[in-house]
């Protein structure tokens, strides 16, 4: 039997689909209150539009694991920072072509010779870079 924590922790981020919400560091707590599962998450950016999708995904993952009617609550403090991304999360990002925060290395060819193209990217948490070695563009998770 999958525990409520395992079920919630396995939910993948709807925008960065290569990491789980546990790896991303936005899963704060999973507890059982009066027989109901209660999951606490925190948003990456305050306006992150993925938070509603994440909430729904957690509820359905728990329902599939046999925990119907879970509550998902949001907690702001302490504020999320990219330091909360786990080591396996950083590896999964890099393996899938997204440079983890703090690294300016090309995730394709590992060249350190890269250039920022745009300070903002396809999601609030990313910026856009390009590699001057292999000429491939790549997203990077901005340090926050």
């Amino acid at each position: 039997m999958v525990t409520p924590y395992e079920a919630a922790a396995a939910v993948v981020d709807p925008e960065l689909r290569v990491v789980t919400i546990a790896e991303l560091g936005i899963l704060r707590d999973v507890s059982v209150v009066d027989g109901r599962v209660r999951v606490t998450i925190t948003p990456t950016y305050s306006g992150c539009p993925a938070i509603d999708a994440i909430r729904d995904d957690i509820r359905s993952a728990l329902a599939r694991a046999g925990y119907e009617g879970a509550d998902v609550v949001t907690s702001l403090s302490p504020a999320w920072s990219t330091d909360m991304i786990t080591e396996s999360g950083r590896e999964a990002l890099a393996r899938n072509g997204i440079a983890p925060p703090g690294s300016h290395e090309c995730p394709q060819c590992s060249s350190g010779h890269t250039l920022q193209i745009s300070r903002y990217g396809s999601t609030p948490c990313q910026a856009l870079f390009k590699c001057l070695g292999c000429h491939e563009p790549f997203p990077l998770v901005k340090t926050l």
Binding site: L76, A79, I117, S118, R119
Partner: protein, 221 residues
């Protein structure tokens, strides 16, 4: 500052900035301005949720019930003119410098401010880089951003109430590096936003922002 004032500054700023979506000078800047608008909207929503029903507060209040400062409601271009990128950069520089100070001061006691403080620092950095590039850029870019600075300057008194000295210590070096002229003071300090006395620009902005919800209450995407 009260949570409603912080919320309304961010909400109205988000609505103004979103006018740029699909119209910015480059794709990268389109994405940047949309993301900054999204950050502003996110902070506004979190504060409004703490104050009551966010839809009611955003969509069903009248202009005189809003508590934002006047600067955020002003058009991002000459008076009722076209959107102007130079004006937008000056506006964002002034606003994000003030917001980053307010959020920093409140971060210990207000979870939303603690969340928004790093986002705001990134907006300020973005606006700073553009101010320097436009001010110290071409004749035209310089003319446009200087016009915006002159026009918006009197409104910054209301924006920076209580933090003006610290705000100047952020903005002055940026203007100097951009070789732009800091306007002199002539005693005109328009205010009234915090008491609900707004310019006509807010009414037009709210008409656009609220019309859908008022026509179709509770309509979801």
């Amino acid at each position: 500052m009260k949570p409603l004032e912080l919320a309304d500054d961010a909400l109205i700023a988000a609505q103004r900035l979103s006018e740029w979506v699909s119209r910015a000078p480059t794709l990268e800047e389109d994405v940047a301005l949309a993301n900054i608008a999204l950050d502003q909207l996110g902070a506004a929503r979190l504060w409004l949720q703490g104050l009551g029903d966010e839809d009611q507060l955003a969509y069903l209040r009248s202009d005189f019930e809003f508590r934002n400062c006047l600067l955020v409601e002003l058009p991002l271009g000459g008076y009722r003119g076209e959107l102007d990128f130079g004006w937008t950069v000056a506006w964002l520089l002034f606003l994000s410098a003030a917001q980053s100070l307010r959020y920093k001061d409140l971060a210990g006691s207000d979870a939303v401010a603690a969340k928004a403080v790093k986002e705001s620092a990134y907006h300020l950095d973005h606006a700073t880089q553009w101010t320097i590039r436009l001010g110290d850029g071409t004749e035209e870019s310089r003319r446009r951003i200087q016009a915006a600075i002159d026009e918006y300057w009197p409104y910054t008194h209301e924006l920076t109430e209580g933090v003006r000295e610290r705000w100047l210590s952020i903005v002055e070096p940026v203007l100097a590096r951009a070789t732009l002229t800091q306007p002199g003071e002539d005693g005109w300090k328009p205010s009234g936003g915090r008491e609900g006395r707004h310019t006509e620009h807010l009414s037009y902005l709210l008409a656009e922002m609220q019309s859908l919800h008022r026509a179709h209450p509770g309509a979801p995407w």
